[in-house]
Subunit: 217 residues, 2 copies
DNA sequence: TAGATTGTTAATCGATTAACAATC
DNA sequence: TAGATTGTTAATCGATTAACAATC
């Protein structure tokens, strides 16, 4: 499976397919055609068929797609059939919010540790995980297998901390800090830049107002 | 200014330009060429020039771009020169994390209210904002001008609450709930789907492992 | 002026959509 | 079998990159 060659645009859409199929399953829907799904999701049926066929023929001519089967298969593609161990670096508000977020665990993302540099936070328990100090991290990573580190730190310490994580074997960083991390090629970074998202919202708000005013002139 | 015709890909990149220009300003850099910036940001110089020229000629032949000027102009395009009033709907962990996030206010996003349905939370103060009950919202929106509502609710109540917000005049929703909102055309929705982001990370992790194993065979 | 670098047009590349033959 | 719907190829559309004339 040469998954590497699949375009980012397709990957971006996969979790959304997964979500809609999950909902259909909850509704007890057994099968769906690309056409029906296209109406629900407001994308073209063509795109759905193209996207799915990157990974193999999940459908059947004259029938459509079997919902539970397709759901499971997309889950496998996304690696949701495996358990991933995750640590959270930075036990501020956002870090704690992530740590409290129950649903991740349902999808196989298990939070096994929370770290911070602030001694005031030491030992505070969040859903069974006591906050640890950063200097315990190297030892911790020797004992535990951890695939993912969520980085919820102020910009100032983030670059340095990311280096530290990489040095100690972390291969994937879920980056909430407002900077682009510079990591080796084999380390995966997924960015969540909340402030950029908010700026895009603001841009569109701006647009609407100007368009609106224009029409009134 | 027919901003409506500018592609989403360009808008997605604008906040990143803004961030880099801000950093350059802090470093005291006065001017930068598209070439220098392209090396820093790891995009093509051509793309930078194309992107910026969607909004007008900010540069000067033979000189490049004036950093503070360009920073200000992109800020204006993104609407960061205006103050936006924001309310947070859902005072759970994520809602509280957003409410505590100081930096938004620096960019002109002022949190003026936090709402929840859980009476236990009533009156708790977060950075000067007491958590209010949802039934106070209509009154509140009559008195205050609010542009943006951040929706940090469980999926179950989100659709209904979004309708409620729209009915009471909210024109932009920053949606953290794991569903696609169905709103009138003139209402802006900006989605932050954390679980989808995590799935993309997981996909790439998966990929790397398989590629890696393949090479070892 | 000469050199540098933009703004902008043209060429390329990739992603989306349309069409239809294959097949359940 | 006939109807439905996929998988897949071809056509279109849009976004990115390259090239270069304009100009500071």
């Amino acid at each position: 499976m040469d998954q590497k060659s699949i375009s980012k645009a397709v990957i971006r859409r996969l979790p959304r397919y997964y979500r809609y199929l999950g909902e259909l399953m909850e509704e007890g829907v057994e099968r769906i055609s690309s056409n029906e799904l296209s109406e629900k999701m407001r994308v073209t049926a063509s795109q759905i068929r193209q996207d799915l066929n990157n990974f193999g023929g999940f459908g059947q001519q004259g029938y459509g797609y079997n919902v539970p089967y397709l759901y499971t298969e997309i889950g496998k593609i996304l690696g949701l059939d495996k358990t991933h161990h995750m640590i959270i670096i930075g036990a501020g508000n956002l870090g704690q919010a992530l740590a409290n977020y129950v649903k991740f665990e349902k999808r196989g993302f298990k939070i096994v540790g929370i770290f911070d540099v602030n001694p005031v936070l030491k030992g505070i328990s969040i859903r069974g995980n006591q906050i640890r100090m950063m200097d315990e991290l190297p030892e911790f990573l020797k004992e535990q297998e951890v695939q993912i580190a969520a980085l919820t730190l102020p910009k100032g310490n983030a670059a340095e901390t990311a280096d530290f994580l990489v040095q100690h074997g972390i291969k994937a960083i879920w980056n909430f800090a407002h900077l682009d991390l510079d990591v080796p090629e084999d380390v995966i970074v997924e960015n969540v830049h909340l402030s950029e998202s908010l700026m895009r919202l603001s841009y569109n708000l701006n647009c609407y107002v100007t368009e609106h005013q224009k029409n009134e002139d």
